[in-house]
């Protein structure tokens, strides 16, 4: 590293022996890196929306159930003493909010029609802090206090049942013993979340009513937890499991948001795969752009490498010099590209990209029709690292060739 300054000086000046060639290569590289930076920011923005919408619409960051409930949805697998569980987990750091729910599948009926429904018995005030459901009320109100037979219904389900505000709704579901129980509610609000799974299925009712109707006593099915941030979810889940085991209860399941829905998990996996694809393309772009330029440069300077060898420059030093030259070229193009791609990402991150014409398709995936690219430091660093890795690979061949030249032969080259 003692001669790093001279490598950098020689590398920098050699690049500007042919300014047009260097500028063209750097520009092509810059456009490629800019496009990939923007694509990566779009991906991060989408993923952030999917995560936030999925977790904040209904699911929460983490849910605790009786073991096996998520798979069976059977009310016999319930948490009998939620107060004890909440007392045990409330000492865990990183929890922003806790709510309890009863969740059951059932059948909703009106005078003229019926349809499958997802029933949520919730604590109205706590739920407002936990999820966005109350914010999605498009007509009427959120569950009013002291109205034990109030229901808030997804607008898609209401359409299918042909009901509106103030209409009567009968909901049936299986109780723990296997019998069917029904309850009558009055529609007080309609919600529109944009997520078809929610709008076409959900029926939200007060928790005490659901517990009584379904014969659960004080039992619940879900303890829903909101973390301070997505980054803390894994750590928090581990801490929650530890706190539950300390309670002496081995019969709980602690599920992260992406454990609850396989589609969310697949989207997270796809985002990871997409990131690797972007990085692979970065490496290929850098290789394609830079290798050709560096090989041309190397062949033009065979005598110069011979001269350096004659003067006593070690083969390893010549190797390092050519690699550094490649790195400088990639840093010029990469910096320009990252500035351009980053700038576009920030601007569109602020103003959004309107993809409303694809809103229905997006709603399946908890995506908003206005996409806000998200420029994240770790994504930027990964692209930079991939570009430098590509530069190293692109530099290896010309560097190897230059370092293997025999000075006596190289000096005879014309």
């Amino acid at each position: 590293m003692g001669n790093l300054a001279i490598y950098l000086k020689l590398g920098w000046r050699n690049l500007w022996l042919h300014p047009l060639r260097t500028m063209l290569t750097a520009a092509a590289l810059g456009v490629g890196i800019a496009a990939l930076t923007f694509l990566s920011a779009m991906d991060d923005g989408w993923m952030q929306q999917i995560k936030t919408n999925f977790a904040m619409t209904v699911t929460g960051h983490i849910q605790i159930h009786a073991k096996g409930f998520e798979d069976s949805r059977n009310l016999s697998q319930r948490i009998e003493h939620p107060d004890k569980v909440i007392a045990a987990i409330s000492r865990v750091d990183g929890i922003r909010g806790i709510a309890t729910r009863v969740r059951a599948s059932g059948l909703a009926s009106s005078a003229g029609s019926n349809a499958g429904a997802q029933i949520y018995g919730v604590q109205p005030e706590l739920e407002q802090q936990m999820s966005r459901l109350s914010g999605f009320v498009a007509a009427g109100t959120w569950l009013p206090d002291h109205d034990v037979h109030a229901a808030v219904v997804g607008d898609g389900l209401a359409d299918r049942l042909g009901i509106g505000l103030g209409d009567k709704l009968v909901v049936m579901a299986a109780v723990p013993g296997g019998d069917i129980a029904s309850e009558v509610f009055r529609v007080r609000g309609l919600i529109h979340s944009g997520v078809m799974e929610v709008d076409n299925l959900i029926v939200i009712v007060p928790l005490p009513t659901a517990q009584h109707w379904l014969g659960l006593g004080k039992a619940i099915t879900d303890i829903v937890i909101r973390a301070d941030s997505f980054d803390q979810v894994n750590e928090l889940a581990v801490a929650l499991k530890m706190s539950l085991s300390a309670l002496g209860c081995g019969s709980f399941e602690v599920l992260r948001w992406y454990d609850i829905d396989p589609m969310a998990q697949q989207w997270a996996d796809f985002a990871d795969a997409y990131t690797w694809i972007v990085l692979l393309i970065v490496i290929i772009v850098v290789l394609a752009e830079v290798l050709n330029t560096m090989l041309m440069s190397m062949h033009e300077r065979v005598r110069e490498f011979g001269l350096m060898g004659a003067l006593g420059v070690m083969p390893a030093q010549i190797f390092a010099m050519v690699v550094w030259e490649t790195v400088i070229l990639v840093l010029i193009g990469g910096a320009a590209g990252f500035a351009l791609g980053g700038g576009l990402s920030l601007w569109y991150g602020e103003h959004g990209i309107d993809l409303s014409q694809f809103a229905i398709a997006f709603s399946f995936m908890y995506m908003d029709p206005i996409v806000h690219p998200l420029l994240q430091a770790d994504s930027g660093l990964r692209i930079l690292a991939a570009a430098l890795f590509g530069a190293m690979i692109a530099g290896l061949i010309p560097a190897w060739k230059a370092s293997r030249l025999q000075p006596a032969h190289a000096l005879r080259e014309l």
Partner: protein, 229 residues
Amino acid sequence: MRDELISARGVKRFYDSGELKVAALDGVDLSIERGAYVVLAGRSGSGKTTLLNMLGGLDRPDAGSLSIAGQDMLAMTVAERAGFRLHHLGFVFQAYNLIRVLNARENVAYVLQLQGMDKKQRFELADQWLAKVGLSGFEKRRPDQMSGGQQQRVAVARALAAGPDLVLADEPTANLDSHTGESLMALMRQLNDEKSTTFVIASHDPAVIASARTLITMQDGKVESVKNL
């Protein structure tokens, strides 16, 4: 007492030419003392440049023995030969002597930097040597801003600034006009007088041959004659 700098015994070097092996050097015996000013003369293809490459560690003999400053050149690895060149040898080539992207001062200081000298010291030394070869005021000029003669002078300054035991020059006047060539040879002889640095110069230029103190004539890869003048 005799102070031998170069000792070559039975040095041979063959090159493949199709199915034939051509002897570029065919058993060269040579002894050169420290402080000598030697010109290797001979026609093109006589083996001058090949011998110079052997002496400079730029190429390896196929047979024989060769030692310079007491170092066995055949026993050295590629990296060891590079290190030996850096600390013991200086070169002046026919053309393309300088690194294009460095100015005159930086070209001279380049080898000094590789030797580990600090920036202030190496730039001062570079400027002193540029002054000695008559290039004061040319320190910041790049090779493409200097004439061929000026570039050769920078190469001489670079070769000598590093304090070598031996300076090897291959056809140093070939691309220069006669006046510039004579001026360059006068400079090299003067430096040989002042510094007692050993010079071995390969050339078929009559002016260079006329400047020799020891003239070694080569023919067909062999030393034909050695004359002390």
